[in-house]
Symmetry: D2
Subunit: 175 residues, 4 copies
């Protein structure tokens, strides 16, 4: 640790009067990785929280400027954060409706491991897990469950289903 300190001092953010050194050592082998893994799980949750807020703005009756909101939230609001700053930048670069982007969100593992760890410990992490599942769903992984729901509604209610085949769609299966 003492041998590594000079290197870490250079790589990490500088010491900070309020927050101390820009790096930390968290104990036995694995502890540091664990802190980083959970960091990413928390990150998923925070991102999804902002994402839901902006999706309400996108759907609402007011013509709101998402970048302007994100900038305003950076000034003294409870939700000010680096991710909020990035949101401001993203809306400026991509436009208010993010038209260029596909609603497709990858994940790189830490969120999955965080959820598995939480199950292992019997600690509920509903927000982190939901954020992970929202990423899965953005990739279409919720499609079969939706089909089952549609099929069940069709069975008991004769509710029309949307069929891939337009002919079939005109003649939905009814009880």
């Amino acid at each position: 640790m003492e041998r590594l300190s000079p290197i870490l001092d250079v790589l990490a953010p500088p010491d900070d009067d309020e927050h101390g050194p820009g790096w930390g050592h968290f104990g036995p082998a694995g502890a540091g990785h664990y802190v980083k893994m959970v960091h990413n799980g928390v990150e998923y949750g925070i991102m999804q929280a902002y994402a839901e807020g902006f999706s309400l703005f996108d759907a609402c009756e007011y013509e709101l400027d998402n970048a302007k909101i994100a900038h305003l939230w950076m000034q003294g609001s409870v939700v000010r954060s680096w991710l909020c700053e990035l949101a401001a930048r993203a809306f400026e670069q991509e436009g208010n409706d993010l038209a260029r982007l596909e609603p497709y969100v990858e994940d790189s593992g830490e969120g999955r491991w965080t959820v598995e760890d939480s199950i292992d410990k019997r600690i509920p992490t509903p927000v982190i897990t939901t954020s992970l599942y929202e990423r899965f769903s953005s990739r279409g992984q919720n499609a079969f469950a939706a089909k089952v729901n549609a099929a069940l509604r069709n069975q008991f209610g004769g509710h029309a289903v949307k069929a891939a085949d337009p002919v079939a769609q005109r003649e939905p299966h009814a009880e």
Copy 2:
């Protein structure tokens, strides 16, 4: 009530030794509607529970016969239910992969009202609410939130985004 009883006896399922009459009166004005509204909220949750189970079968490494599973579950399993019976029928009629169906699920209001009621009462209904939101998402209502997540990932990680415009997609925005 007494005047209506003969009519209700005809309309409702017949009396049952185990479960009593096929209709019930639940008290002051509104109580019956309330019971029916919550019934539908519960229905959403049960449907989604099966839907998730079958979506695991659909994705798993075994070649499973969903109709056969639903039929087997009807015989003595804890999850036997009328909806399970309908699932068996749906898989028989639509095929094991429900190929004809769009992953698109409507809702007709009772689920929304149930959730609003639960918020009003401060009673958590996470499964019913999640089932409702899964229906919203099946209709693409989660798309903007997914775009925000993708935009944020792109901002901090330079993660490539999937762009609607293939040219843009080849040159993802990087920090």
Copy 3:
């Protein structure tokens, strides 16, 4: 399989005109266990769906008879099921408000494994997972997260916190 069939015929529910044999063979080693594991995950979701419905009845302004509702739901309603039948029985035996029972729910593993499997497959199972987490929370496993929330509210809003120590409670920490 052929050698086992006579035994399984005796152990399992009898053949059924509608649903076929009372047991099934699902393929390679592991497939049957997999179907049973997911069965239990689905079971968690269905149980929680009913639990949320009855908790709304418990909290509502009408004086509702939960056993009567469960019996009525057994007669022709969409949510009729064996678990609904058990709910009727439970309310009859334990009383309308389940006063004797602690709000404490164990789990025996299959729900956890189902969620881990869903994460492994990137298939969202929000209802099954939520039901599992509700069980964890019923055992107090959500307590530390609630304390963090309370501490954060206290920091930014000077919102009083409920302190274990009544003296401290009278003098909440304020910014």
Copy 4:
């Protein structure tokens, strides 16, 4: 608006080169309130995301210093935010295990309204809603649902229930 500007300039945070003025006007009557309401919904989600992360640290096998982690996260990490800063302060003031605090979280309405609005718009807000429900649950509002789950488990599995009355607890109801 022009008449109010000088006052708002004094009340709000000062202009900022990066983020512009410390206050904003968002359009027709109601728009500003709407932005503030959603802000608070987002706030619930972010708080719960941190809360889940720290509850994993609390439960994990490493002896982690939560304040140290929160301080480190303030230095260049993706999740740096004002709420993370408050978390550092809260752990410093209350101790690593927040022992003085009850796991009891109030809410003041904006979260409920945000969820109702999202249902009205058919926009899924699973993280914000989950965060709200976690607050309800912290106040014991999940208790009846947990009792129903316990009663159902007891019915089908003869699983022992934890009874308030210790005598009853020794003789759990069995099928």
